[in-house]
């Protein structure tokens, strides 16, 4: 095949795939600010759908932000020390523990949610609260934080750094806070971005764990897709995109930086 034709064919194919992914996203964002989507953009642009979404679903947006932040705090407090411990222990035991905490990624969220409901569904106030969803999000996002920090720990020489600090009289706790944590910052940052992004968008677990009083943004989205006109569903999706796309872009930039620094 002539080189030029082959290039054109592959280029067109790739463009087609990109259009398939991006076109619906653009059209839905447009629909969220169009007066009447059926009549097209010529019917005028408006912010009234977004205001309507805020009136209808503000609580879900706030709850999702609070949940994502709380999930992040939990995974930081629990996951970062654990990553350090697993790195220090090493060997078969550490691998086994890593295996177990990574299992929630291999098992569908629906199954984990069902397991949580069967075990704790009877305890009324816990079941009714947002903490029930928080528990699911923490279990689901924890492996990302732990692995992300462990990956950085594996690439630096922690023990030498720690020995240096120890020879200067630093206690174990001081060494962890002032030597280990600052050195694994890239891993913490990458893990945090992942945790917040996943928590904001989590649906499979949350749909089973939520109650009418603890709806999150994705749960509200499913609600609006089933019962609201296209413009409101679109405006709501637009709000979600505005929250999540900056996080995704930040992750892409971090990924590029990492691959560049590993190449040099």
């Amino acid at each position: 095949m002539p080189r030029k034709l082959s290039f054109t064919l592959q280029f067109s194919f790739t463009i087609l795939v990109a259009l398939f992914l991006i076109l619906p996203a653009i059209m839905s964002m447009l629909a969220g600010i169009t007066t009447n989507y059926a009549r097209g953009v010529s019917s005028g642009l408006t912010a009234s759908w977004i205001i309507e979404v805020w009136n209808l679903y503000a609580d879900t947006i706030v709850r999702s932000l609070v949940l994502a932040f709380t999930t992040l705090v939990c995974t930081l407090l629990v996951g970062v020390p654990a990553a350090y411990a697993l790195h220090t222990i090493g060997g078969r035991i550490a691998r086994l523990i890593e295996e177990v905490i990574t299992l929630p990624l291999a098992i569908p969220g629906l199954a984990i949610a069902l397991a949580l409901i069967i075990t704790y569904g009877g305890s009324g106030s816990f079941r009714q609260s947002s903490a029930f969803i928080l528990v699911g999000h923490v279990v689901f996002t924890m492996p990302f934080m732990v692995r992300s920090v462990m990956a950085v720990l594996g690439s630096i020489d922690v023990s030498t750094l720690e020995e240096g600090a120890a020879s200067l009289g630093a206690s174990r706790w001081q060494r962890f806070i002032t030597v280990v944590v600052p050195n694994v910052r890239p891993g913490i940052l990458a893990g945090s971005l992942m945790v917040v992004t996943l928590s904001l968008g989590e649906f499979n677990l949350t749909w089973m764990l939520h109650t009418p009083l603890t709806k999150t943004l994705p749960v509200g989205l499913a609600d609006s897709y089933a019962s609201m006109r296209l413009e409101i569903a679109s405006a709501y999706t637009l709000v979600f995109f505005v929250m999540i796309v900056p996080l995704l872009v930040a992750m892409q930039i971090m990924g590029q930086k990492q691959s560049r620094s590993s190449k040099s």
Partner: protein, 271 residues
């Protein structure tokens, strides 16, 4: 404080969290699935009861088809993007990987925007042929939805391993007289097999467990996740929902474990 006790203290919160809210519940799930009024039959019903068996087969077929098509699409696009430098390449890569964290429900809505009653394809087809094409709520819509959330995951892995290929091998093949097609068939594609297995397994496991997309599209095809949801909420058949969940979890876990032992890299599904 001794080294061991400090390390233990660092690990303890994780063990408590995962133990209480993952390990214990999963054991409960296994037990509830086996403790149905009719004993272990809730587990055997997965294959003996036609309704569950059909759903299992449909989900398997859908997931395998999604995996094959996604890997093919991602390989063609990935090879192109990794081998050619042109203006707009970085934007194209961003677009192809951006939907990575879109939840299943949003993916379902994207398919409605594309092929629903007010969809882009419907408008285009009416303008061109007078016929309004609506596919969002059919098997085609569900399949496209699965492709939508699979392509970004797979393309990243495949592009990363294309980047790691040794260009000297291809040059050697070419200097020995192999054409473009022969180089791809005999050198490039075999070298990418580990990436195919790893990303294919993630793709398969994610598709098997996907719930949000089918939920939004309310498709007439009952994927396993929808059956579990229906059994639990509408029929209150908790034992059956539990045993189906265990079966589903086992399939995805085995797929990922197999892929890891074959491909030798760490593999995990997300979302």
């Amino acid at each position: 404080m001794s080294r061991t006790s400090f390390v233990g203290l660092c690990l303890l919160p994780l063990l408590i969290t995962v133990g209480l809210f993952f390990v214990l519940p999963v054991f409960q799930l296994l037990i509830v699935g086996a403790n149905s009024p009719s004993g272990l039959s809730a587990y055997s019903a997965i294959v003996t009861e036609p309704r569950y068996r059909q759903s299992l087969i449909a989900t398997l077929v859908l997931s395998v088809a999604t995996t094959l098509v996604t890997v093919a699409v991602a390989t063609i696009a990935g090879l192109f993007l990794q081998r050619n430098v042109f203006p707009g390449r970085a934007i194209l890569i961003s677009i192809l990987t951006l939907p990575l964290a879109f939840p299943g429900v949003v993916v379902g809505f994207m398919i409605i925007i594309l092929g629903g009653r007010q969809g882009i394809v419907g408008d285009l087809s009416r303008a061109m042929t007078g016929q309004k094409v609506i596919f969002a709520y059919s098997i085609a819509g569900l399949f496209l939805g699965y492709l939508y959330f699979s392509i970004p995951r797979v393309i990243l892995t495949i592009m990363a391993s294309i980047e790691k290929l040794d260009p000297q091998l291809e040059e050697a093949a070419r200097s020995l007289g192999a054409g473009t097609w022969a180089v791809h068939r005999d050198v490039v594609l075999p070298a990418l097999v580990p990436a195919f297995i790893a990303s294919g397994a993630i793709c398969f496991a994610t598709a098997m467990g996907a719930f949000g997309t089918a939920f939004t599209l309310a498709a007439r095809i009952d994927v396993l996740a929808m059956v579990i949801y229906t059994e639990f909420t509408l029929n209150a058949n908790i034992a059956m929902a539990a045993s189906l969940s265990v079966g589903l979890g086992l399939i995805t876990w085995i797929a990922l474990a197999l892929a890891r032992s074959l491909a030798g890299s760490s593999v995990a599904a997300a979302g």
